[in-house]
Structure formats: structure tokens, C-alpha cells
Amino acid sequence: MNILNLEMINAHAEYQVFMSQSGKYLFKTDYGILYAVDFELDNNPYYTAYWFNLTNPEHSKSPGDIKIPQTIICIIEEFFRLNPEVLLYMCSTDNGQQAQRARLFLRWFNGYKQQQKYVIKATDVNSTDSKGKPSKDYVALIIQRTHPLLNEIIQRFDEEIQMFNDYKPVT
């Protein structure tokens, strides 16, 4: 993956983004909450894709802090500028709040400008939690409308997600 240009991000981001020693993109909010963002190469056999990872270690909530989604979108925009690939996002199952997280992320990323540039496919899938109990996970695929394999990738994503609908986790 091409390393993101911090100057480009910080030219537009509301929060100052910096890089940790291990290569994660970090920013601190006005309320002292530290966020970490990272991109990890996926190993699907069809196309190059990266998993988008996001966390704040305190698991603090910041309702109404619009600078957070604005900063995250700047990071994602810079990712796509330098890596015109596919981005996958899975909502953390922490505290069983993945549904709320999925809605929040989609609300962040479903602005008018984003819709013009990207196709976002989001869905929930049947899965199991760390204790093996059935659970729902929320997965999103974000792809630029200019991607040469746009239709093929979306079709493949839809087909594979469909497989989860029939999946009955063993309890």
C-alpha cells in the first residue's frame, strides 16, 4: 500500500493527523480522545482490497463531534487518491453495538460528495462471536466509481454475501 501523505490529509482535516511508530494514523479530538486508523491488506483471491480499521482505546463516545467523521473521511480520501483499490470495512462487535457503528459509519460516508465518487455496499452477515455464539457482523465495501472492475467486484461481493444468508453457525 502506498503510504498516505500527511500533509495532504492535514491540509483538509479538522484534527491534526500524525503517524505512530508502527505506521498507524492517529488523531486526538478536542475531548482528548485518541483515534487510530489503519489499512490492512485483504487476502481475497480476486482483487486488491484493504480492510479499514478504526478504534479508540478508551471506547469513549463523542456524540456530535463532527470533526471526527470529517477527519476520517479525509484519511479515506487520501487512501483512495494514492491507492485506487477496494476498501472493506467490518464493524467492531465490541459491546454488541455493531449495528449502531455500521449506521454511524454509513452516515459519515454517505454524504453527497462521497456518493458521487464511490459506490458503497453495506450489509449484515450471520456470524459467530468470540465465544462461538451466533451474531451479526456488518460489512461494507467502498469502491471508486472509476474502478475498472467496478461491476465485477460488486457482483462478486453480492454473491459472496448471499452465501452468509444461508449460513447457520454451529453453536
Partner: protein, 76 residues
């Protein structure tokens, strides 16, 4: 650049081409393969979150200690 360096670049590029070829020729995955792929991705994400939390907490602790030592020096 010496011959070892050139060889390393060549080998890396060759691996990339092979990888791309493999991706192109792959037709489809079975349901079991897809579920296993997703499970691995989920495990990696959880591991990433745990490791990141430790890393950020260590950073916060270092920062706190640095501040304390600064105040101590200042008091002296």
C-alpha cells in the same frame, strides 16, 4: 545498486505478477472458503484492535510520565 539488490527487486516484481495472475484466474470461492476468509479477517481485526489499544495506552503513559518529569524539573 549491486546484483543482490537487483535480484531482490526482480523477485518482488515476479511475485507481484504471479499474484495478479493467480487473482485473475481464480473463478469462485465455495461458501466454506468465504466463511473462513471472513472469520480470519474478523480475528485479524480483533487482534489489531487489542494491539493498538496497548500501543496507544503505552503512548499515553509515556506522555504522562514526560509531563510529570517536566514539572519536576521545573520545580527544581
Amino acid at each position: 545498486m549491486d546484483s543482490t539488490g537487483i535480484f531482490c527487486i526482480f523477485a518482488t516484481e515476479l511475485t507481484k505478477i504471479e499474484d495478479m495472475d493467480n487473482k485473475k484466474t481464480y473463478t469462485s470461492r465455495s461458501k466454506e472458503e468465504v466463511i473462513a476468509w471472513f472469520r480470519r479477517a474478523k480475528e485479524r481485526k480483533q487482534a489489531w484492535e487489542e494491539q493498538t489499544e496497548l500501543e496507544l495506552k503505552a503512548m499515553a503513559e509515556e506522555s504522562r510520565k514526560a509531563k510529570e518529569s517536566h514539572y519536576f524539573d521545573f520545580a527544581l
